[in-house]
Symmetry: C3
Subunit: 130 residues, 3 copies
């Protein structure tokens, strides 16, 4: 398996884990010292995982990712990923809660850590929301 | 061409064929003994293709697929695919028919058959619809 | 880096550049004698780039691309790409301008030119719009 395949799978495993609210599964995709930057500003991994354990505003989500642009430094065991996503935050229709759809661009640094590619840092930029 | 490329192309050829209602093209992407599991439960290939020959509820569709997670057993000539999709079922606007949008997760087993990768089984799980 | 990776990156770089209205960045992705065929019919590269410099009907866009089907002739340094896209043309909400969403299928010929894969021709077929 090439690093390119492994890096694509890393992104997709993130989508599955976050949509299933599998916090332990998510943790395994990150370097222990990872930094995650989103609407709340930069967070360490444990802090960020705690926010995911808290009740969510939407009961269901789907993270549809585009193909990443992968810039690989195989010698260093690092890669930069630039990935578009459309994120569907699906409301509770029984409660007449609407949906929220977001266009997001992820900028990631991935590293080889204990034999696997993991996220060393991830920054999510919201391009639009509806 | 690597098996990874061929498996990605298999998924995309499925999307083109199903959106073009190309039933013969679809048939060529499946093993003759394939099982397809969707809203109607498990179906054999011929039975499933017959349902595609029947009139459709929506005149047009587009199957936008995410990147698959590919677990390849090259020695066995088998692969498991896990693929997100957003499926646009587009209504007839002249008839004021609305659209239906579905979030789907496909779980596929693909096999090498007569030199090509084909679907041996495919299960579609509808995650959400709007 | 394989040609398959480079061709996927070419498509994604197109999406980034067109969404950022980076006309010079777009120009670098095309062969100087490229033909681009869209709603306006076939255009040469310079003519097409001029249309992109003109004021746009929508202030923001996002080009979400599916995985391409890549047919590579490595000996010739050419490739055919067949790529689905959902294009979000995002209106100015302060002006109560609505959004336009389009389903598009791109048929591209790419060539190796000065050591890089670039578009030699690109035809965009609008499958649906909402």
């Amino acid at each position: 398996v090439t690093p390119y395949e492994e890096l694509r799978a890393l992104l997709q495993r993130y989508a599955r884990a976050v949509d299933q609210r599998d916090v332990d599964g998510l943790a395994a995709l990150f370097h222990p010292e990872a930094t995650i930057t989103g609407a709340r500003g930069p967070q360490g991994l444990d802090e960020w995982l705690d926010t995911l354990r808290a009740p969510r505003a939407f009961p269901q989500s789907m993270h549809m990712l585009g193909d990443p642009i992968i810039e690989l430094s195989e010698a260093d065991g690092t890669a930069h990923l630039d990935c578009y996503a459309v994120v569907y935050q699906l409301g509770d229709q029984a409660q007449k809660q609407g949906d929220l759809t977001l266009g997001i661009r992820y900028a990631d640094q991935a590293v080889l850590y204990e034999g696997h590619w993991v996220f060393r840092s991830r920054a999510a930029q919201t391009l639009w929301m509806r």
